[in-house]
Symmetry: C2
Subunit: 674 residues, 2 copies
């Protein structure tokens, strides 16, 4: 396996682990990348972007002041944008340039531990231009944006308003006399807040505002707004813009605030693909407006699921390699301290992370192909599959971001004290991924959207009507008959479906019970939301496990025997792990017995033993270059302690033997001279 | 209720909430503080330390460079040490000065969002002097340390060695010719690593090293070691010392590394209370050495449980007040956006945090009094209760730190995007508390220590022998008879005990099954560790719930009716919440029915409704001054948006309208001149 050059030789324990691995690693890498061609392409892109060493900071950015960090991030953003434009873009083609190029996004992670201040330019500004502009508007804006002549972001959320878009307060009032829109922030809570790059970097911005024409409000619409002079970068008159300040993560990105004081923009800066304001102020709306905006939303969710799976893969690579190198305790006095990877509790913490990284990667690919076929249907005028796609993308986004964050944190904790060091890379991964649980749709709210779909589908099934594929298990469930317990992965997944159905049925009963006491449906719904969230979680577990198992079977049809075996072991581990987490649900809603639970536990522990010798091979198969991992604990060579010390010695504070603070504060105190 | 002065008037929603509260808040404050006198004392100390405003940074420290943050923390440490010495120490008496003064520790939180570089001086150096020095040594060292003429820390963990103390590599070899110990770091992995304050602040250090005399190793012992010149602060010859670099939290504390090159210290710098090296190199050890070191360890754990409960109280104060102010969505078109505190899912996230803060605070006090009585027993030569105390303190430390961290994170996530801002205070609380899960005994390792005690106790009970109080439930359990289900808090707690007993029994069976296949006890134990951790968790839940319920009953005997009611509601909420989390265990190990589970859910949802009107009152009762909260979202006045914006405007970056990075990097790119 080609890895980047390392100065140090490989740690002996890692060499031993790699010798033990019994499957062909590169085959698994191809499966993860989605085929041998993709792997080759990825490696080529990585080689162009990273081999020169341009991605490596001389001083780790954590040693810089916030301002230095920002400037360093801008420096690297420009550098990286040039590399993409001059050396990589041709390899990918234009259509991937606008955001959905996992290879490019992943390679960028070598340049940015957190994010580039340009992230939302390519991630949101360009895609929104593609999705919301008329062809004429696109012809004007897109070349300038793609050539980085202008840099933009997307400003929707306000200081007082997030999820509930109808509650946004910023107004865009059409003035037919001048044929302009007047943008205005009527209150403090109406200030735009959060947009990445807005604080100091961008000069353009897509602003979502309440559109008023002829005294009438038409709801929220997007507008292209110039906020800074293209030449001097000074904020334009009527614009109040700045950085919102430090966050838990994302600190190389300048998230910003933005307020308008009766700020005017030309009429044709409204993004007019789906709705138009004519010169005289007449408002015209396309009929299918609502449905079409699903597109960008689902697209962003697919990317997020993909991204959190990738970050989880980083975390398990770091924690697994470290656990092979770290030795601790002496359960047997005559033997040396064992590798901590040999402890069953450590395997319990780590192997589920490897399996989940696979499961979510596969779920993301599957969601993408489902999305593509729904889009194709929509172009033929068929929008029947949209509600299911919406329910699916909602719960997959919620569960994958939440699970990844918890499991990354589990990896960090599994590395003990050293996992708490920033140079382990793990704290960055956690603070980065935990944010995805909140933005682009909060966990609870998204699951309640899925739950609404599930309750409707349940009622359909109850009425004897057909339901869509991902909830077909409800049809069997309404009969109320339980199937006998089968302990195979397939049987366990069927049980997860019974659990999901049982949870949905419980919710429906609760809602009906409450409505009988005189509550409206909405009030009864609200009071049932704790259980509704649980039902959506159960549904999502059933969907992910089922997809994971089926897709692995499909993807390994031509694999060598040992690859097949280890991939199946991970699928089996995944479903056993979750079955043991959900014994309450299984006992309530399936025919599982006490004895079956004991057998699940035994089988789970056997799987840990089987996977153990291949653990390092499995994380090597993610094929993550050291530059992408940013980790003293996780590098390919496993020289953990050397790297921890060499990182500490880069600390500028260690260059001066005595801190000025000693003479200024401490010494006077010690000498009693305060 | 006296609160610090605020410039702004109180938010209307908070005023409304406070008007709704139906119980006498100050009574609950007294319960939390441990009596009215304690509340008065706390307020007096807070007033002395905080009223002058010395604790408030002019620029939030997150805007500073790492070095500026350190210097600012030293500045405030010296300031605070002076306040304590000159104005507060007399109020507390000397014995509380050495660490266990919750009031002082909590007031210090106003000065330090994270930690003071002096923390380990008072928290570990001084207590170890008290615990490990002979009277003569104490007479020499203690006055200098208490007067801050020297500043010390405690260096035990090494780069390659943490939990397993016997594995430490640093050596202290006695040279009888010069009557000195020679300290040496033979390898990279033997470097001391992590000690707080070691990087740049301290000039003395307690070093734990392997003691060698006359060619023989006597295991690890503590030594007092000067590492820097008292006058110039330069590291002494033979000492290699520095800062280990940035961590996930604790970044105002200079955790350090330390290596020795044949560094010599006088013989009497070995801490000789429990073991001595005579002039000729003869090694003498006190008989009760092992047992006595429990003391400091349990003491530190009590403090930690107390501290995480306090930090959890901060997080729920912030999240609950914010949830009363924040409004979102419009489930009913005709009504305004509701306070998010009105959503059942939000109550589900927050109220368990309030109850847990109470439960852990009470568990900490109870552990402290148990500890005191065990110490009294020990002085009378009775060490029978030590194993139980050790098992208790282990699982309480593990569970309280882990639960608090998860619930603080739950509070943060419940505040949406704004919870991700550093100025919410919540990220600091999480990164601070999550560290406590690892240091002073990692979660998994501590629970396995408790499990060892549980398995032994189970075998005792099986043999018909008496067992100690906290595991007396095992005696009933070995009969195998299940009690009928009772849905009262008391009944649920008894069910938790049955669950704990059932889990321990399952472990014992697993171990025996494995031993029958020929495994040794230790190998069978290792293979059962996943279930053993679960058993210890179940035991700890039973202990905490039981203690919480009984202590609240005792502490509210004289309370007014509504205080009694709301405190009982929280106890009930706590046990219902956990019962619903543990349905699998309840179905496996108790006689609960499907119907009972449904009733638990209904009762739990009723409790949320009952607690809702008192939610803000309950967090007000924690009586946390704004200076201690450090939160734009959680201040007493609830002026959330004004504070978010005013914090953003403090950002020095917002003072310059155009970043130099624009001219240096961005403009050349935009103009195609790269």
């Amino acid at each position: 396996m080609s890895q980047n050059k390392t100065i140090m030789e490989v740690n002996k324990d890692l060499l031993m682990e790699r010798a033990k691995c019994n499957f062909n690693i590169i085959e698994v890498t191809h499966i993860i990348d989605g085929g041998e061609e993709n792997t080759k392409h990825r490696k080529k892109v990585e080689s162009i972007a990273l081999d020169g060493g341009a991605s490596i900071d001389k001083i780790p950015e954590e040693y810089m002041s916030p301002n230095e960090r920002y400037e360093n991030a801008v420096r690297k953003s420009v550098l990286y944008a040039q590399i993409v434009k001059n050396n990589i873009a041709d390899l990918n083609g234009l259509e991937t340039f606008g955001g959905h190029s996992p290879v490019i996004r992943r390679t960028a992670d070598a340049f940015f531990k957190e994010i580039s201040p340009f992230l939302l330019h390519l991630g949101m500004f360009v895609p929104t231009l593609l999705g919301q502009c008329t062809p004429e508007q696109q012809a004007y804006w897109l070349p300038r944006a793609l050539d980085m002549q202008i840099i933009g972001t997307y400003a929707q959320t306000e200081l007082g308003h997030g999820t509930f878009i109808r509650g946004l307060e910023t107004t865009a009032t059409y003035d037919e006399k001048t044929e302009e829109f007047v943008l205005h922030s009527p209150t403090l809570t109406s200030y735009k807040w959060w947009a990445g790059g807005l604080g100091r970097t961008v000069n353009y911005c897509i602003v979502v505002a309440q559109l008023y024409t002829k005294g009438e409000c038409h709801g929220t619409h997007p507008f292209i707004v110039q906020i800074r002079d293209e030449d001097t970068h000074m904020p334009l008159p009527g614009i109040k813009v700045g950085d919102i300040g430090p966050k838990m993560g994302f600190n190389t990105g300048d998230n910003g605030f933005l307020g308008f004081d009766h700020y005017r923009i030309p009429r044709d800066h409204m993004m007019m693909k789906n709705a138009q304001v004519l010169k005289d102020g007449t408002y015209v709306k396309e009929a299918r407006h609502g449905k079409l905006t699903y597109g960008t939303m689902v697209f962003v969710r697919v990317i997020l699921v993909n991204e959190v799976a990738f970050n989880l893969a980083k975390a398990c690579t770091i924690a697994t390699r470290y656990s092979a190198v770290r030795r601790q305790s002496k359960p047997k006095p005559e033997e040396p301290e064992p590798q901590i990877l040999d402890y069953v509790t450590q395997q319990h913490k780590l192997f589920i992370c490897i399996a989940t990284a696979h499961a979510l990667q596969i779920a993301s690919n599957w969601l993408w192909s489902t999305f593509s076929s729904v889009v194709a249907d929509m172009k033929r005028g068929n929008v029947d599959s949209l509600p299911e796609l919406h329910a699916l993308s909602s719960c997959l986004k919620a569960i994958s971001t939440s699970e990844s964050a918890s499991l990354i944190e589990q990896c960090r904790q599994a590395c003990g004290g050293h996992g708490y060091m920033m140079c382990s890379g793990l704290p960055f991964l956690y603070t980065f991924v935990t944010a995805t649980r909140t933005y682009e749709g909060d966990y609870t709210i998204l699951l309640l959207q899925t739950a609404r779909f599930l309750v409707k589908a349940y009622e359909q099934a109850e009425a004897g009507n057909p339901v869509t594929p991902t909830v077909s298990y409800l049809t069997e469930a309404v009969s109320g008959k339980r199937k006998p317990w089968v302990g195979s992965p397939e049987g366990i997944i069927r049980a997860f479906q019974e659990v999901a159905a049982g949870n949905v049925a419980t919710c429906v009963k609760s809602i009906r019970r409450r409505m009988k006491t005189g509550l409206s449906f909405e009030d009864a719904w609200e009071q049932t939301t704790i259980q509704l969230v649980a039902a959506a979680e159960a549904h999502c577990l059933a969907v992910i496990s089922d997809t994971y198992r089926k897709e692995i079977a499909r993807l390994t049809v031509k694999s060598s025997t040992n690859v097949k075996i280890v991939m199946e072991q991970l699928v089996s581990l995944y479903v056993h792990y979750w079955a043991l987490q959900k014994t309450g649900d299984l006992l309530r809603y399936t025919s599982i017995s006490q004895e079956d639970i004991i057998n699940l536990q035994i089988k789970y522990e056997e799987l840990l033993v089987l996977i153990r010798p291949n653990a390092v091979g499995l994380v090597d198969a993610f094929d993550l270059r050291d530059e992408v991992l940013h980790s003293a604990l996780g590098s390919y060579d496993g020289q953990v302690y050397e790297r921890l010390m060499s990182d500490a010695l880069k600390n500028p504070m260690n260059k001066e033997p005595v801190s000025p603070a000693f003479h200024k504060y401490v010494k006077p105190m010690m000498k009693g001279k305060l």
